[in-house]
Amino acid sequence: MIEQPQEDVLLIEGVAKRYGAVTALREVRMHLRRGEVLGLIGDNGAGKSTLIKILSGFIQPDDGKIFINGQEVKLRSVPHARSLGIETVYQDLALVNELSVYHNMFLKREQLWKPLPLLNNRAMKRAAREYLEQLGVKIPSVDMEVFKLSGGQRQAVAIARAVSSNAKILLLDEPLAAMGAREGALILNLIRNLKGKDVSIIIIGHNYAQVLEICDRINLLQHGMITFDKPIAPTLLEELNEIVLREYRINSAGVRKNA
């Protein structure tokens, strides 16, 4: 496959991370095209969370290069990564339960009654309502405190907030974990709507069957390396099943031999 670097909003090359004797990431090469939805899947311990932490600026790699829009960058911190347009949405972590939806949407970016230091709640409410409508996120009311929403609604609000803060690259960590079919459809629908908004998305998932229908391309992370990189095709699910089963057999044979 010939790649055109100028199309890639994100490109990482040779990224490695070691924790003492443990190598979490060996030599990761990965790219994300503009407007693309990339599914990053892998088993527990494959290095997914290390990779997310590096991309969100939380930790720094030992080796390798990261390019955003063709420019090499060093992601120094979470705010720094955010200032470059990379936003990460973690399951269950993002929202403040005791605050209303619109206060959550505007947390740290509050609109004020200038020159008074008072919150302009009316303006924030209106903007939040319009924004959520635009993304097709349906919630009963923006006045509602977040703990009254369902899991799917909360996740949708968290994603909408990340996008509204001008994110260009969105990392979604297990966006469908512990979600029913209807709730999951809400999130998938939201991700579909985001495609038209110049947002490129990496969905990190454990259960690939769920994310398959929304992704343009799948990367498989195994033992700290990307071992599989293919666009979505009808036979993909079978191929992935095959790979995972093979790995499972090798592991269980190893366990038996050791025992």
Binding site: V96, L99, L107, P117, L118, L119
Partner: protein, 345 residues
């Protein structure tokens, strides 16, 4: 078909919506009022007032109302700080000893350093604020839980007050001046200060970034800091605020009774302020609460204390009753919060 269903549905909805008629207006206002968590505590305050008044008409005499307002004011001012601190997930046990120390600082600033009364009060407030800074640094930057850290500063502050005063009360300087009248001496000046502070603090809590970030810090520390909320600054500010208000309340009280006593305030006033906050709906685990609620909670405690005194109930018996009532209120506070969280889905 769809065109027929749609308008029908919308008219049905319009009918079920409350119509803003004059007759229904007071019902709607009542409904809004009842949804507020402060409403139930306000009802309790009214019932208590009615009960004590019917038992002894002196309860609503001008003298007793003055006394009640003085009972309430200093504690209510301290409760404003504790509400903010509790919402952000911390507590200050030492504030009652800042309350005792601040008037002595005013006294020594005037007597030993010859400062004017106004400047001396400013010095007292600045030192109160600095004590808040120390508490905040120990908790926020050195990671000591606030329950333990402020227990330590409680003891240290009491030691300082006893040392500099030689365990003797002093006369508050400036007694009889206009300044002293405004700063707590005239009967209702303390409660006016309290009400002013309560209004300002309620606006800060519900209408400014400080308030919003305080709630965010107490409700979801990790999530709030992820978004970039400076939770350290928020907690520091609330420690400073609590200590400042503690010192201010102590100074007002010293002007009111025209003397400063080393044993003033202490754990009693701190505990009443925290209990008032919790009775008024501030969550002990942080994340929610209101200043007005805390004020109502303090009022209920004052009503009980004053009412029982008028009924001639023994002070020791009274402590058993009120201690039990506060424990019940705190258990309800924690359990209701847990129920609310469990019922979210």
């Amino acid at each position: 078909m769809a065109n027929e269903v749609l308008p029908e549905a919308s008219t049905a909805q319009a009918q079920t919506e409350p119509t803003p008629e004059k007759g229904a207006l007071w019902l709607r206002i009542l409904g809004i009022f009842l949804k507020q968590r402060e409403a139930s505590i306000a009802v309790i305050a009214i019932v208590l007032t009615a009960y004590f008044w019917s038992s002894n008409p002196v309860f609503l005499s001008k003298e007793n109302i003055g006394l009640l307002s003085q009972y309430t004011a200093a504690t209510a001012i301290i409760a404003c700080g504790e509400v903010m601190l509790l919402i952000s997930g911390e507590i200050d046990l030492s504030v009652g000893y800042v309350y005792a120390l601040a008037p002595f600082i005013v006294y020594f600033a005037v007597e030993n350093y010859g400062l004017s009364l106004g400047l001396a009060v400013v010095v007292g407030l600045v030192i109160s604020l600095l004590i808040g800074v120390i508490n905040g640094v120990i908790v926020v930057y050195l990671g000591v839980p606030s329950l333990i850290a402020t227990l330590g500063s409680l003891l240290a502050l009491n030691g300082i007050t006893l040392t500099i005063s030689n365990d003797f009360p002093v006369l508050t300087p400036g007694t009889g001046t206009k300044f002293a009248e405004v700063m707590g001496h005239s009967t209702f000046s303390e409660i006016y200060w309290a009400i002013g502070i309560i209004i300002v603090m309620q606006i800060i809590l519900s209408r400014t970034r400080w308030g919003l970030h305080t709630i965010a810090t107490g409700s979801n520390l990790l999530g709030a800091s992820e978004v970039g909320v400076n939770f350290r600054l928020i907690k520091m500010s609330n420690f400073m605020l609590t200590s400042l208000l503690g010192g201010f309340a102590g100074i007002l009280e010293a002007f009111r009774i025209t003397s400063a006593t080393p044993g003033a305030g202490g754990t009693t006033i701190m505990f009443n302020a925290v209990a008032g906050a919790v009775i008024g709906g501030t969550a002990l685990q942080g994340g929610s609460g209101t200043i007005i609620g805390g004020f109502l909670g303090v009022i209920v405690l004052s009503l009980l204390s004053d009412g029982f005194t008028l009924l001639g109930i023994n002070a020791n018996t009274f402590d058993i009753v009120i201690g039990g009532a506060i424990l019940v209120a705190m258990i309800l506070n924690v359990r209701l919060q847990a129920l609310r969280k469990a019922g979210k889905q």
